[in-house]
Symmetry: C2
Subunit: 219 residues, 2 copies
DNA sequence: CACAAATGCTACACCTGTGTAGTAATTACT
DNA sequence: AGTAATTACTACACAGGTGTAGCATTTGTG
């Protein structure tokens, strides 16, 4: 069936033969998995969750759909679930690295300010990790949503504990610690969004000094 | 191939005639428009923005798709745009009704607390209005997103002005008013989300007293 | 260099949603 | 009641995404 001495391919013309698509570089399965997850992440960050599909991911990675199904048996659901695991782990790692290993309890205000600064810088320098988390609480598969909600809830619980301790220790106002923890988380998340959408307008120092300013006037 | 006296078909008749769908009640165009917008809103609140389609809206309203196109020339885009106008207006109206007509500047803390209470009650009693705004900043048509962002920005500007005034008048800490305004908005929105997702856990008083508690300890 | 395993591609059948042309039922008015 | 206008329905052609079976190519190994 192949054309004999067929000139072939060369573009100029001639043959309207439905020439085959050039093969993408062959890549072992586990590397391909990472590539495909990266492609999905790129799409999410650039075009939003709504734009994600097996088709779009395959195109983004420069391969055809069957390749995706070959590596993620469960299709899109499987791929996104795995991606979620990966990103969740990266995010939690980055967060825990921003927390001080051995907190200096003698100066709580300074401790808070330092931690806040580290978190802000982390978010600022890892937009691919944080944008999908901070800028898309909805519109994504329900599973992703509930996963993030779980982490958030977890964080609120920890923060509530810290607050109860901190308020007692530092002598702050008497507050409903849980509600206050929610409020703080809301501010953190919102600052994160500002960082991602208008990084130049809200410099690190500006956000940090608002936090220290507030802390300083809370008595 | 049908069995003659075939039992089948349950219903008395027996005729396998592709019987016509019963006509939906005939309704003048302008009423139909409202009905369809209500149907769309119901879907958004119940199933999320992702579930909205001309087909789904028609089903929800108990009619067929051509009815939708007959009343909204531009199809889905047109319908959602009009719905957005309607909901935006309702939301802004409700907000402005929560604001005091002639603010009593002699007791700013009380003023804030009263206003907060009214806003909370407004959100609590109008979930169909506020859920799509507070619980879905993404995943909706970009147009809706930017519309809401515009209103939010607007609100921040107003709030920034109020803060500058209030801080001077009441004698609070020296703060970056714009950043502080963002922080307050973040808290308001987050409280709104808590109200909508866990109305029983976060009673009105609990949220209000956190606000007054914070205000009272800010010096 | 041959050949087997691993990897990628094409082609198809299916599903869901869009938008429209043509037709049928209902309603309002004489 | 008869009839015209209004409203709703059916049916089709199209577009884009899914998932899979079968074939083609590449690549590692003797």
């Amino acid at each position: 069936m192949t054309a004999y001495g067929s000139p072939v391919t060369a573009s100029p013309t001639g043959a309207e033969k439905p020439r085959r698509r050039p093969y993408a570089a062959r890549v072992p399965a586990d590397v391909r998995r990472e590539q495909l997850m990266d492609a999905a992440l790129t799409i999410i960050v650039r075009d939003g969750y709504a734009a994600v599909s097996v088709d779009a991911i395959a195109k983004e990675a420069g391969v055809t759909r069957p390749v995706v199904y070959g590596v993620f048996e469960g299709g899109l659901r499987d791929l996104l679930g795995t991606l979620l695991d990966r990103q969740q782990e990266r995010a939690l790692t980055q967060l825990s690295e921003a927390l001080p290993p051995e907190p200096d309890l003698s100066d709580p205000d300074r401790l808070v300010a330092e931690t806040a600064r580290k978190m802000i810088e982390t978010v600022r320098s890892n937009p691919m990790v944080w944008q999908p988390i901070l800028l898309a609480p909805v519109g994504m598969p329900a599973e992703a949503r509930s996963r993030i909600d779980g982490d958030r809830e977890n964080f609120v619980v920890q923060l509530t504990g810290l607050l109860e301790l901190g308020l007692a220790l530092r002598g702050g106002p008497v507050l409903d610690a849980e509600v206050a923890a929610h409020a703080i988380l809301a501010i953190l998340e919102h600052f994160g969004r500002l960082l991602l959408t208008e990084p130049d307008r809200f410099e690190t120092d500006r956000l940090v000094s608002t936090i220290t300013g507030l802390l300083g006037s809370l008595k």
